[in-house]
Symmetry: C2
Subunit: 335 residues, 2 copies
């Protein structure tokens, strides 16, 4: 198996993620506020949260509320026959959990990608290789990919994934929501696969902590047992149920994000960036002096994602509105 | 080690918990609504939730928000030097996690108690004995107790716990909040101990999903790594920080709960129950025909906790207010 060593070496150290503005505020005390956070791939226009029933906070989450959420999620994600679904307090909780349910394995991760996958498999003692393409995963017990990928946007066709022979195939579909339904494995899930679906990114509600795994009933049962009762908060059950049933909101969000990601590409190209890919929730850009660009944007109060080991790349989330686009345009002109 | 087999045999099956009224409603369709749920040990008068900042829902929970919560919790729980604290989405998440961090062990659980402890240690392949007293834990690698106990209220003095020689001592202090500070191990934590503190029970906010582990830094670091980033939701960070800093609310809650638990005892005794113990959040009662009592109460729309393997025992949570007490009194007179 070709091992492309593109992970940072100290994989046991906590990983730096986007989205933590407090830390940034200390580094750029003069930056204008409020910060525009383009460092994550989270929809900048959240699903509107209505009035939440007080019982959602006070009572233990009920089975009926959990089942109502799961029914809405199964419909939304088009979970096919032979598969079932479990809810967790964020897909990160599932990423933490999956490596603990497997015997020591050779794990091939299609990289480069969201670094928590490699960290979590390594932490549990598995032998992890980060490989460059699906062919190089041959022979691995466990294959992990983010599809479409973060940050590149690379999409491995579902049919190619159905041919993967590994004992376990983990497909993190965190960013699949706005692609055509056939991009997801959920509708005709192979028996060896588990799909992760993120609620917070698409619905702009990352603080809610809600995510799902879709897999064969045996694996879902083990995940459910490992998560234990009341894994998801009462308000998350309610918000998730409402949002996942709201097709009109999702359609409108998809149209807006599509327009806005094109608008972002135009701005980035005008500023001398090459847009390498991404999804409609984030764009991956290349620039010879990416670090200087990120620094200049931070001084304008705009936070983008850098990659310590790939100094020419930056990832841009989408501004929420015209004002955000105007601030970004003005900052980019000032490079 | 004396093995007192008081756990139900099929410990791998999910455990029936209190608090799920939907299921009960189907069994007692004629019962008057709303149900009065006395089946849990959750404070029936929740901490008031103010207006929550929208960013708590939309953004990934920030490190600064997590650190502010942990500072409030460390003060509230009087975490002493040499120990530190980690937050989880409910203590149940920690109960699920601890057995995965230990090598295969002989685990002695002081019983009978909250059954999730035994279930979770057994699920991870440990050899679990449920024993009747602390002396019988001698020789175990891991000792687990709920202190004060649920449902008996038995309190093992902190000094006796400091003498426990096991490699790991898990003290679930879910119900210690209203006892004098020295009842908790947190202030002078032995190096082998981990304490679990529940937020939802004391503050009446079980749906929020928030709990803590207090332990030596090495173990806390492992728990933090296993929980991963953003384990606690944004709203939970905010609500917890506010509530844990509010000593006046806690004092008033303690006075009310103390009065109400005495009032409950009086009612139960008048109805022919023997009150065996409990805490100020719940009372354990014995009655020769406990099952008939529970059934009669359910037909009055009042849900209490039964114990499948101890048919003479019932656990009563506290009614929230005078109306609740009046409905309970009237139902008990109608036995």
């Amino acid at each position: 198996m070709a091992d492309v060593p593109i992970m940072t070496a100290a994989a046991e150290k906590p990983i730096e993620h986007g989205g933590d503005l407090e830390a940034l505020g200390h580094r750029y005390p003069q930056a204008p506020r409020p910060w525009i956070d383009l460092s994550t791939g989270i929809n900048p226009v959240p699903y509107p949260i209505g009035i939440l029933p007080a019982e959602g906070w006070s009572r233990l989450p009920s089975r009926a509320a959990e089942e109502a959420l799961l029914a809405a999620a199964a419909r939304r994600y088009r979970v096919g026959s032979g598969a079932t679904i479990v809810a967790a307090p964020g897909t990160q909780a599932l990423i933490q959990l999956l490596p603990r349910l497997q015997p020591r394995s050779r794990v091939a991760i299609l990289g480069r990608t969201y670094a928590e996958h490699a960290l979590c498999w390594r932490r549990e003692g598995h032998e992890v290789s980060v490989v460059a393409d699906l062919a190089a995963t041959e022979g691995a017990d466990v294959v992990v990919l983010v599809n479409p990928d973060n940050p590149t946007g690379r999409l491995v066709p579902a049919d190619a994934l159905r041919a993967v022979k590994a004992a376990l195939l983990v497909v993190d579909e965190a960013f699949v929501d706005f692609l055509p339904a056939q991009a997801s494995l959920a509708g005709a899930l192979p028996g060896n696969a588990v799909i992760l679906r993120s609620f917070g990114k698409t619905y702009g509600l990352a603080g809610v902590r809600l995510g799902f795994a879709i897999a064969a009933p045996t694996l879902v049962q083990r995940l459910r047992g490992a998560l234990g009762p009341w894994a998801v908060s009462g308000p998350a059950l309610e918000i998730g149920r409402q949002a996942l049933a709201d097709d009109a909101w999702l359609d409108a969000a998809g149209r807006r994000l599509s327009t806005h990601s094109e608008r972002l590409d135009t701005l980035l190209k005008a500023a001398g960036c090459r847009v390498l890919g991404g999804t409609i929730l984030f764009r991956l850009a290349e620039h010879g002096e990416a670090s200087r660009v990120a620094d200049a944007l931070a001084r304008h109060g705009i936070h983008v994602r850098r990659f310590a080991d790939r100094p020419t790349l930056l990832r841009f989330g989408l501004p929420a509105n015209d004002e955000g686009f105007a601030r970004l345009a003005s900052a980019l002109q000032d490079l």
